[in-house]
Amino acid sequence: MSHGSIIKVPFGPQHPALKEPENFLFEVDGEIVVDVKPRLGYNHRGIEKAFELRTYIQNIYLAERICGICSDAHTTCYTQAIEELLNVEPPPRARYIRVIIAELERIHSHALWVGIAAHEIGFDTLFMYVWRDRETVLDLFEMISGNRIHYAMNTIGGVRRDIHAAMVPKIKKGLDFLEDRLEYYLNVVQTEQTILKRTAGVGVLKPKDAVNLCAVGPTLRASGIKNDVREDDPYAAYDEVPLNVITHEGCDVLSRILVRCEEMLESIKIIRYALDGMPEGIIRVRVPMKVPEGEVVSRVEAPRGELIHYAKSNGTTKPERYKVRSPTLGNIPALCKMLLGGYVADIPIVLAGIDPCFACMDRMAFVDIKKNKEWIWTMQQLRRKYAKK
């Protein structure tokens, strides 16, 4: 390959294909991608340092705001970790409610992703349809938890709001509507020629690479490896709920779409089972403010993959160290492998293939400024200057 024709194409941090700031420097030979260098950290807010400054109750809402789409996964993982440190057992009804909320969030997160993937390949009409149908899930969330995205359902020792008997028929009606819409989209994705042309055989990740590069979640399951935290390391009420893990052998973007669509249908079945089988009883137990010394690793299957929280407490009301590793960081090495050898035109769809959530992935340090010309007010100065007027 003649070296002369290699040009460097920056992708991000501001780019229509990336919904959040991230920078990938591509070396492109003609239309073929030769090398990828990820440069992360544009969305870094210092959450791990901030964890150490707040009490355990306040940290629930900090954990929730690590990511705007998979917020429940983070709070479930956080509250589980602290409950294990306190060795407190949430009541059975709370564990079932956690499963229901987690699966509803999986549907809303995957539906959001199918819309974005359609937008990446220029299919805006499908994007509009999928996001219109996703509104049913968000309305259900608003009814159950009072808020569309940050449901704040989990607290240490159980759940803050109950799913009353009056809500169950509404939820079931919403799920029935969603089920036949999702079946229709599954059919569209497999038959619509223009989608197949842009996704089949694109962004291939062979199973061996997926394991070596420690990929997680649907990206791993689309390469044929059956690995899901809900089944392997069950938490909340997943040991009492029937679950079948969906895998596809296609190893390309199309099989990732199929895995996520079928996972949504699977989630609907889980929610129906959990709604019927939910035991009666209290939904939370009282917990002390101070957490005894100890350390714990807590794992959850977030919509994008295996999410790990490591907590270390020192007996006070504030954690000693709190580490969050979100699924997207696990998939970035696999993403770089997929991009090599592909077309420039395929970058957005392959990049969207792992359903990147950069808000999750960056959790540290301050809002940094690329260009030195701008000046910036810090939050405190702004409040002091205006709030006092």
């Binding site: 707040r54 009490t55 109750i57 306040q58 940290n59 629930i60 809402y61 900090l62 929730e64 705001r65 009409t125 499908l126 349809y129 219109r132 509104e135 309305d139 608003e142 009814m143 009072g146 808020n147 940050h150 704040a152 803050r160 709001r161 229709y184 059919n187 569209v188 038959t191 619509e192 409040r383 205006y386 709030a387 007027k389």
Partner: protein, 114 residues
């Protein structure tokens, strides 16, 4: 061409979007909107001030004479203050249209005797 049939079917259906300023969605029952303090019930225990994760509540004075300054631009509507208040003096209202051009309007002051 299956998608063509679906697209043409949409022409007959009413659009799913909303003419926002003129048509508004009704918010469900216990929606977490802006928290409102009922100063008659408030005993100035400062529990809400301490628990607020984003520091949106400011206490002036102590005990029964305490007054509350609530910064809506800092508040994230988590409802933790309403939950922890021993006197149930804080209620999460249904208000969600809180944007404004002037930041001083973001400050809601709750006086004791007003």
């Amino acid at each position: 061409m299956a998608f063509l049939k679906e697209a043409l079917k949409q022409l007959l259906r009413r659009p799913a979007t909303l003419k926002y300023p003129y048509e508004k969605l009704t918010v469900p029952k216990d929606f977490r909107g802006r928290p409102i303090w009922d100063m008659k019930k408030c005993i100035g225990c400062a529990l809400c001030f301490n628990v607020c994760p984003s520091g949106a509540i400011e206490m002036i004075g102590k005990g029964l004479e305490a007054e509350i300054n609530h910064y809506v631009d800092r508040c994230m509507f988590c409802g933790q203050c309403a939950e922890i208040c021993p006197e149930n003096a804080i209620r999460m209202s249904e208000e969600y249209e809180l944007a404004d051009f002037d930041r001083s309007k973001m400050l809601h002051e709750y006086k004791k005797h007003s």
